[in-house]
């Protein structure tokens, strides 16, 4: 674990923080988005906001797969789990995600549904092998990092002749969501916000490389720094973004040279491409429908597709209209601006996507950062 500690050195972080403070132009405001919930978590967990100057602001993006899963998909999973033939295998963090009318997998389990918490797709395959009498469905969710294991599981199930295994596919794509955020001002659906650069998730780029981001530089004059997840990586990447702004550059840069290349992992890409294809459109909780932003199983692997095997019908459900996730996710508002924040909406009773997992913007602020609200409120009063 030496490896991890090297990237958590408090002194080094403070040194980078001092450089950021020295190089930040006091006449400018900097707004960067960390796309990924993992980065949001690192920023909140280590209190990195306190290390940044007041004019460098981080906007928490939508890159938390649990958070952006629409309520309707949760409802569908609950329906599926109620099927007496089905054993639903799921990651623990999906258990509490509320569907419509307060339903959740954890409650469905308490009411008798056969739901198992697993740590990997392989656990789900193993359950399917041990229980040939059960239809085992893996609740697949995640960005590009978790897609190859799902593809692998499907191929493994086929190779082993498993007829009782399928996946409920909710895999989504990072670049499509970044595009949706950048196009938000144009489409007029959401209020505009000036994001001057993105932190891109390194584990996603370990698979897809950095190339898919080149278009954001060309089309939107944006800046992207692909960043590791250790707090030091994040600080260093923020410094790289800030320098691009100061120098008037727009580029895709790679902070995480430890494991990311421009091309990414070709073998994993081929595997995913063999098993999955693009959906025309997919609903993101908090952001709405985004074209070509998610995957489904190809026709060739249709028998492993739970949606087709169980002829699942799409369920449409909407969030509390007072929920501000859509505006928070594009940086136009902050969690404490939502009138449901901390009153009816808490991590125990989330009303919107950003409160669902600790990686969501509202939950991270509630769990780690809400002590700052009073300081912010009194600073606001003093200023006015």
């Amino acid at each position: 674990m030496k490896h991890v500690d090297e990237y958590r050195d408090g002194k080094l972080a403070r040194a980078i923080a001092a450089t950021i403070a020295a190089e930040a132009d006091p006449t400018r405001d900097y707004a960067f988005m960390e796309f990924c919930g993992g980065h949001t978590h690192a920023i909140s967990r280590y209190g990195l906001e306190d290390l940044l100057p007041a004019n460098v602001r981080m906007i928490h993006g939508p890159g938390c797969p649990v958070c952006v899963l629409p309520i309707g998909r949760v409802d569908e999973a609950i329906e599926l789990a109620k099927n007496p033939d089905v054993t639903l295998a799921t990651y623990a963090d999906l258990m509490r995600v509320p569907g419509s009318r307060g339903a959740s997998l954890i409650k469905a389990k308490a009411a008798g549904a056969d739901i198992r918490m697993v740590y990997s797709t392989l656990d789900a395959i193993r359950i399917a092998e041990e229980r040939p009498d059960r239809q085992v469905v893996f609740f697949a969710i995640g960005f590009e990092t978790t897609t190859p294991p799902s593809a692998m599981a499907v191929k493994l199930a086929e190779a082993r002749g498993l007829t009782n295994f399928s996946i409920f596919c909710n895999h989504v794509l990072t670049p499509s969501a970044i595009r949706a955020i950048l196009e938000a001002p144009k489409t007029g659906g959401l209020p505009p916000v000036r994001i001057q650069g993105f932190l891109g998730p390194s584990h996603v780029s370990a698979i897809i490389g950095t190339k898919p981001y080149d278009t954001f530089v060309a089309e939107f004059a944006q800046r992207i720094v692909v960043s590791g997840f250790e707090p030091l990586d994040v600080m260093q990447s923020i410094l790289m973004l800030l320098r691009q702004v100061n120098e008037g550059r727009t580029a895709v840069e790679n902070q995480y040279i430890r494991a990311v290349t421009p091309e990414g992992n070709r073998a994993a890409q081929a595997l995913v491409d063999e098993v999955f294809e693009l959906r025309d459109s997919f609903e993101w909780r908090g952001l709405g429908a985004i074209p070509h932003s998610a995957l489904r199983l190809r026709e060739r692997y249709a028998t492993f597709d739970a949606e087709r095997r169980f002829a699942m019908t799409p369920i449409v459900a909407s969030d509390n209209p007072a929920c501000e996730c859509g505006t928070i996710l594009i940086g136009a508002k902050q969690p404490a601006d939502c009138r449901l924040f901390g009153t009816v909406c808490t991590p125990e009773t989330p009303m919107g996507s950003c409160m669902v997992s600790s990686e969501g913007a509202c939950a991270a602020h509630w769990t780690y950062g809400r002590f700052r609200d009073r300081a912010r409120a009194s600073a606001g009063r003093a200023a006015s």
Partner: protein, 355 residues
């Protein structure tokens, strides 16, 4: 000030008519607290229970000045045997500790077993022997008990409930509502060992660690602390389910104060950090079974800390932070990076049964 006060949780009450108990109600987080509040506290309410401590202290009628402490704890852990202990030793230690952190000298234990039909006698004997050994080592005998057997499938192997009583020396008044700004928060040793040992011993996690549970009886340590701290010792708690984070939040809420701790002061074993990393857990939320937290007046901190370090179970004791004024009852931590964050209760259930 009032307009910036954190809004009180307008929490919806539980749906008693059609709701069901789910795993989050047993995880030691807010859902557990709500279950206890709305089902049990409503039904039992009395002066002793309502204090909300892990044990109750009461006067003994007919004995002038006599005071006793009582506590009970159910154990449903899987697996039954784990590195550093088993459900039996855990059931003995857990209840002794609940009595001991109330400041009392534990005297006797009662035990009740719920055993599933088909459970191997060899395992039952192994558990009973382990309980006997643990209680003899602690000098706290098991003086009465009960056994029920239920049909296969109606329990999972064996569930054990232990109840303990102890006596309080005159003048010892410990309670979770006694922390005041300026008090020092002490911790007896490394956190997260028990929870990680349990998770590692579940085969499906597929990783090995050298970590063993810290399960131990803390009553000798607490006796030394009571002696050294005198009236400067405000309260003690053992951070079991929900980990250090839950315990500190309970104290802050009960005492209506804030607590600020320093991440750099927290003793956490490297293997525990690594395992938590892998599992996506925060060591602050992971259970302990042989550790305690104490809140002491600043003037008594040195003496209590020295007494702790003189006991084998408190050798690594450290001061981890202080009690501060905060009407929102936040527990805050200065991270190793110099930033600040809240240390919150665990939300919902993270993993299956650990105690």
């Amino acid at each position: 000030m009032s307009e910036t006060r954190e809004p009180r949780l307008r929490r919806r009450r539980m749906d008693v008519k059609s709701g069901r108990v789910d795993l989050s109600h047993g995880a030691g987080g807010r859902a557990s607290a709500q279950l206890i509040d709305e089902i049990f506290r409503d039904a039992f309410s009395n002066a002793w229970l309502d204090q909300g401590n892990d044990q109750a202290a009461f006067d003994v009628p007919l004995v002038p000045g006599g005071r006793m402490v009582m506590a009970t704890d159910a154990h449903v852990i899987t697996p039954l045997f784990f590195p550093g202990g088993d459900i039996g030793s855990l059931a003995v230690h857990g209840t002794i500790n609940d009595v001991a952190v109330g400041g009392a000298v534990p005297l006797h234990l009662a035990v009740s077993f719920i055993v599933e039909e088909g459970f191997p006698l060899a395992d039952l004997k192994r558990i009973a022997d382990s309980m006997g050994r643990a209680s003899r080592e602690a000098g706290v005998p098991i003086v009465t008990g009960d056994t029920k057997v239920v049909e296969r499938g109606k329990a999972d192997g064996v569930f054990i409930t232990t109840t303990g009583i102890g006596v309080l020396a005159p003048g010892v008044e410990l309670s979770g509502d006694r922390a005041r700004p300026g008090d020092v928060v002490l911790l007896s040793g490394s956190i997260g060992d028990h929870g990680v040992a349990i998770m590692a011993s579940r085969e499906n996690l597929g990783f090995e660690t050298a970590i063993v549970s810290d399960s131990a009886a803390l009553h000798r340590l607490t006796a030394a602390m009571v002696a050294a701290g005198g009236t400067g010792l405000k309260l003690m708690r053992d951070p079991t389910r929900g980990g250090l984070a839950a315990t500190l939040n309970e104290i802050a809420t009960q005492s209506r104060v804030g607590i600020r701790i320093a991440e750099e002061a927290l003793p956490i074993k490297a293997q525990v950090v690594a395992a938590c990393e892998l599992l996506g857990l925060d060591p602050l939320n992971v259970a302990n079974e042989g550790k305690l937290v104490a809140v002491v007046e600043a003037g008594a901190a040195e003496a209590v800390l020295a007494a702790m370090r003189a006991d084998p179970l408190g050798r690594e004791a450290v001061a981890i932070g202080e009690v501060i004024e905060d009407d929102r009852s936040f527990v805050q931590m200065t991270t190793s990076f110099g930033g600040g964050r809240i240390v919150d209760w665990l939300t919902g259930e993270q993993l299956p049964r650990i105690c």
